[in-house]
């Protein structure tokens, strides 16, 4: 089962994509490792490594880099929020 990965705001613009579906790569079990895996794809994906204070959510709950990712999850990466 694939995972769905979403990107928002300035990160979405930098990557040129808002979402993608992919098979959970071997050895990727946490949000932080998934971020490193995607950032290693080369330009423009390094934006995942360079975005300041990057935030993440798993299944629409804000989480830290150690949060687990498993097949079927929805994972989102985004800059700090600026609503209100």
């Amino acid at each position: 089962m694939n995972i769905k990965v979403l990107f928002f705001a300035g990160l979405r613009e930098a990557l040129g994509v808002g979402s993608e579906s992919l098979a959970l790569p071997a050895g990727v079990g946490t949000v932080g490792v998934l971020r490193d895996h995607l950032a290693a794809r080369g330009e423009p994906w390094s934006a995942l490594a360079t975005t300041k204070n990057l935030r993440a959510a798993v299944n629409q709950q804000m989480v830290g880099p150690d949060a687990a990712v498993k097949p079927g999850d929805e994972v989102a990466f985004f800059p700090p929020v600026t609503g209100g």
Binding site: L6, F8, A9, G10, N53, A57, Q60, Q61, M62, A76, F78, P79, P80, V81, T82, G83, G84
Partner: protein, 155 residues
């Protein structure tokens, strides 16, 4: 419904009236309305418009969770949160938070709490259109500080 994310404008007066309609135990309504400001600082290019992006699904869950936490912390009867998305112009309303309770202390505190948490926990992002082009608004440390004031113990 206590939480709405919508493109349409809202009528703050009507929303506030609806919170206390048909009940005689409400002694206090505290509300906050946020507006689009034309400019942020003297050295910034003038803001001509602003577009609010959000994370559909998570946004509503995050706002519901913030309201639920407020209800757990203070003795309030109800709350209404409306946050607009899409393109807005200076002077437009962005956000409404209104809280009803028996006494003003609970209403004031819960209203400010909801607003502070919304600014740091609800997945909205502002992009400003200025005379120099588009720019994403940076998160402010003062917002983290404002939200942090409400933390008790390790929560």
């Amino acid at each position: 419904m206590s939480v709405s994310v919508q493109e349409a404008d809202f009528d703050a007066g009507a929303e506030i009236a609806a919170l206390s309609a048909g009940r005689d135990d409400v002694g206090a309504v505290a509300s906050f309305v946020g507006l689009v400001r034309a400019d942020k600082s003297s050295d910034a290019a003038a803001v001509q418009a602003m577009t609010l992006e959000h994370y559909p699904g998570m946004t509503e869950k995050a706002l519901d969770a913030i309201v639920a936490e407020a209800r757990g912390r203070w003795d309030i009867f109800g709350a209404r949160v409306i946050h607009r998305v899409g393109r807005l112009l200076p002077g437009d309303r962005i956000v409404l938070v209104a809280v009803v309770s028996a006494h003003r202390g609970e209403a004031f505190a819960a209203c400010e709490f909801i607003m502070d948490y919304l600014k740091t926990r609800a997945p909205f992002w502002k992009k400003e259109e200025t005379t120099d082009g588009g720019r994403w608004v940076d998160a402010r440390e003062t917002d983290d500080h404002a939200a942090g004031r409400w933390q008790t113990g390790k929560d």
